[in-house]
Symmetry: C2
Subunit: 252 residues, 2 copies
C-alpha cells in the first residue's frame, strides 16, 4: 500500500511524526507537507506563486518533502510531481485541534484529504481534539487501523473520512461512532484592543467547546469520549432547494 501523508501544522509538527511512524506498519509512506504551519488555510491552493520543495530530516534521517504551499498543494505535488507510484491512500494529520462541526470548512487538514479524494484516491483526515498536552499516539494508531480496513473496504468515489479523536489514552476512549458533521455554531467574537502606538486591532476568539444535543454528531461524540468518523463529500449543491429556486423564475 502506497501512502501519501500530509498535514497543515507543518512537516516538523509532532502529529505528522506520530502518523508517519504508525503508517509505516501499514505500507510505504511518502510525506509531503507544508514547510511551515498552515492552519486554517481552508482548501487553499497556490496559483500566484511557484512552489519550492526541499527535503526534510527528522532525527537525522530523511523524513519527507517540505513544500512552500498549503496541504492541498502538497497532495497535488505528491501525486502529480514527486511520487513515482500513485498512492493508494492519502492521510492528513494528525492535526493539533479538532476538526469537527463547521471547523471542517476552515480546516487545512481536511482540505489535504479532500484534495486526495478529488484526485480519486481514498483519503482520511485525522485530528486530535485538543490544543494542550497532546498525545498523538492513540489517534495515529487508530488511523493506521483504519488504513488497514481500507485495504478490504471501499469508499464511494468522492467520499473521504474525517476522523476526530479525543485527547485520551486508548484505554479511556469509549469507542468509535460513525457521525454527521455537527450543525452547532461556535460562538465567536472579536476582542478589540489598542496597540502601544494607539492603533486598534482585533483578536478573533470564542467559545469553541459548545454542547450539541444531536447524539449522531461529531461534536457530541467527541464530548462523550468517542472517536468520531464522519464520511464527507464535496458536492455542496443544495439539491432539495433546486426546484423551489427554479420556481423563482430568475431573469437577466
Amino acid at each position: 500500500m502506497e501512502i501519501l501523508i500530509t498535514n497543515d501544522d507543518g512537516i516538523y509538527a509532532e502529529g505528522i511524526g506520530a502518523l508517519a511512524t504508525a503508517m509505516k506498519k501499514v505500507g510505504n509512506v511518502t510525506v509531503v507537507a507544508p514547510d511551515t504551519q498552515r492552519s486554517a488555510v481552508g482548501h487553499a491552493i497556490t496559483i500566484t506563486d511557484p512552489l519550492r520543495v526541499t527535503t526534510a530530516k527528522r532525527n537525522g534521517q530523511f523524513f519527507g518533502y517540505a513544500a512552500s504551499g498549503t496541504p492541498a498543494d502538497c497532495v497535488k505535488l505528491g501525486i502529480k510531481a514527486l511520487m513515482k507510484k500513485r498512492p493508494d491512500l492519502v492521510v492528513s494529520g494528525v492535526n493539533l485541534g479538532g476538526n469537527q462541526a463547521y471547523n471542517i470548512l476552515y480546516s487545512g487538514t481536511v482540505s489535504g484529504a479532500t484534495e486526495g479524494a478529488l484526485l480519486g484516491i481514498p483519503s482520511i483526515a485525522v485530528s486530535l481534539d485538543t490544543f494542550k498536552n497532546p498525545d498523538f499516539g492513540p489517534a495515529a494508531a487508530f488511523a493506521a487501523r483504519l488504513a488497514g480496513t481500507l485495504k478490504k473496504r471501499k469508499l464511494p468515489a468522492g467520499t473521504l473520512l474525517n476522523v476526530n479523536v479525543p485527547n485520551l489514552p486508548t484505554s479511556r476512549l469509549k469507542g468509535v461512532r460513525v457521525t454527521n458533521q455537527s450543525r452547532t455554531c461556535f460562538n465567536d467574537w472579536f476582542d478589540k484592543r489598542t496597540d502601544p502606538h494607539g492603533n486598534t486591532y482585533y483578536w478573533m476568539t470564542g467559545d469553541y467547546k459548545p454542547k450539541d444535543p444531536d447524539a449522531a454528531s461529531d461534536l457530541n461524540a467527541l464530548n462523550a469520549g468517542y472517536v468520531s468518523v464522519t464520511p464527507i463529500q464535496f458536492d455542496l449543491t443544495d439539491y432539495k432547494f433546486i426546484t423551489e429556486l427554479q420556481n423563482w423564475e430568475l431573469k437577466l
Copy 2:
C-alpha cells in the same frame, strides 16, 4: 436593506467597485474587504494574528473598511465588530474568474458568502467567468436584481447562492439557469522549472475550461452563455454512506 459587501480580490479591485455601485440602488452598503488580493484562500480564517482595519477611499471618497484578513474574516468583522446594524444580506464579489465546479472549494469569494450564511444571513457569491478583459457591469447588475428578489423570497437557513456570469454584454447573455455544482475535474499539472541559481520550482497550471455534458451543471451553463445560480450548503456529511459505514463496525 443593510448590505455587507466583501470579496477576495482586495478592496481596490474593479469587481467590488462595480458591485458596490450596483448594490447602492438596492440598500445601504457597507464594504469590508481584504486589504490585498486573497484569491484561492479557501474558507480561511485568521486565528494566529490580530486583524487590522483601515478605511479605504476610492475616487477621493470613503469606500469601506480594509482588513488584514481573508474574506471570511471580513464578514465576521463586519457583522460582529464594524456594522451598527446586522446586515440583511451579504454579497461577495464580483470575482475576477469563475467559481464553478470544484473551484467552489478553493474560492475565497464563495467563503465570504458562506461565512454570511453560517452567521444566519442570506448570502450571495458572484463571479465573472474570465481572467481577461472583464466587464463587471452585467454581473453586478444581475447581483443587484437578485438582491431585490431576496427582499421578497427566502433562502433556506444555511443555503447561499453561488452566481457565475459569462463575460458577455447583457444583450448576449442567453438567460439564467438554476444549476448544480459540476462534478467535472479540472485537469491540472505542475510545470517543473529551474531558477537562475539551479534550484527547482513548480508552477501549478492546467486546463481550466473543460467541457461538461451535464446540462444541469454550472460549468455547462457558463459554457453555453447562461448565468448560473447554484444553491449551496455546508453540511458536507455524506448521509447516503452512513449506514454502510456503520456496517464496517470500526473498533478502537
